[in-house]
Point group: C2
Chain length 248, copies 2
């Protein structure tokens, strides 16, 4: 099984290159399960041609209705499977490698998908913070694509998205409230319970941690604040997942 | 343990009186677990004084910041516990009556709470449909309260909320899309899987079914359409839960 999986990711100018929360979801899953893989780096304009060449399906549609191809994408040479979409990859890895630690405990795939919908809505205020510094670390071949997509979504220049002053105070409170909501879910599990499904990691913990990796990389000052939120909940989650944050 | 729990609910003019999706969540949970209870009916203006008398906590705040007391509320005479909020009641019943069928499988309380946040957002388009016919079945002592709250929320007369014509076509499609999203979560569990956590009920199934009970009661024509959605998914869910829809 050694190096049986090719894992496609988008590079940055950072030393370890990896930056995308969406691809980190799948990489954290691979590392958590201990499945060997090799990363191949694709700039944004290379994603669609490579996906089509391998026969990967588009994950959603662009605003104009045409198919959108995205990373993460894996090519599992041991089974011939080509798969994009971090959720589908997680489900595939649990099914195909049953002897590795399970990402989604039996019966919880649908609950994980509901969890993700709820968290995506809560994380919306975070994008404006992430986009400006993320754009700044992309290679020239990817930054134009990133700019076009984000500026169409937010209706402002990517350099101007980062909230400052009063806007920062208001928007950062929204981010904190969102994490407060997630904290309340974990607390509902019972006194002292650490993670979304108990005291062991599940995919939901890795999935949220993928965003924390992004925050740590491009918003180090905000991360220092976030570490203090909710009795250090997110600092401890991040520390517990750090061993899966290697880039192969 | 016979009749050890007093269950407080809001009556309507319907033969079985029960109509509220929120109280149905707790009643379905009690019936699913087979825990005996007796219903005591409270009109809206009676909820706050009775809650205070029993020592129940408010479940949230009114728009003016003052505490809001809500049903369901249970008084478990065997333990002395007084508890409002359907989620807290479900967690309490699982903890206090471990020999009855479990509502939330071990480790899934937090995931259930995330599920509920996701579904509440998806169900938002349904309220306008439910409010007009619900208002019409309330007793005089409750209808004024219901009118005040709903009209403040939606900015329109309760008699005018029910979408008609083009608005109906647009809003009902939103409701269908929301159920399509939930259908996608269940399908992610695997081929032929029936419910949110597999082929056995969990609290998520009962929780959504509480809204289906409301739809069946006050929107029977819309329910006929809904039964055909997603290969009959919701008709089968409703049939599977029907045995818990008794009012004691």
């Amino acid at each position: 099984m050694s190096n049986a999986i090719i894992f496609y990711d988008i590079p940055s100018t950072l030393p370890h290159k990896a930056w995308s929360a969406n691809t980190w979801k799948a990489r954290l899953a691979l590392n958590y399960k201990g499945i060997p893989y090799n990363t191949v780096w694709l700039e944004y304009p290379e994603i669609e041609p490579l996906s089509k060449k391998l026969g990967a399906l588009p994950t959603r549609n662009k605003p104009d209705g045409s198919p959108l191809y995205t990373l993460p994408l894996i090519h599992d040479l041991s089974t011939g499977t080509v798969l994009s979409d971090s959720d589908k990859i997680a489900v595939y890895l649990d099914a195909t490698y049953p002897d590795t630690p399970r990402l989604m405990p039996t019966g919880t795939v649908g609950m994980h998908f509901a969890f993700e919908d709820a968290v995506l809505a809560l994380l919306f205020p975070l994008w404006r913070y992430l986009n400006t510094p993320t754009h700044a670390i992309l290679n020239p071949a990817s930054e134009a694509y990133f700019r076009t997509v984000q500026e169409a979504t937010f209706g402002m220049k990517v350099e101007e998205m980062n909230p400052i002053g009063d806007v920062d105070a208001r928007e950062w409170q929204k981010v904190k409230d969102s994490f407060g909501r997630m904290d309340s879910w974990i607390r509902a599990n019972g006194q002292g319970i650490k993670y979304f499904m108990g005291d062991s990691h599940c995919y939901a913990d890795l999935w949220l941690s993928a965003y924390l990796v992004s925050v740590k990389l491009v918003l180090p000052e905000k991360w220092e604040e976030m570490k203090l939120w909710h009795d250090g909940r997110w600092a401890r989650l991040s520390e517990s997942v750090a061993k899966y944050e290697t880039v192969r």
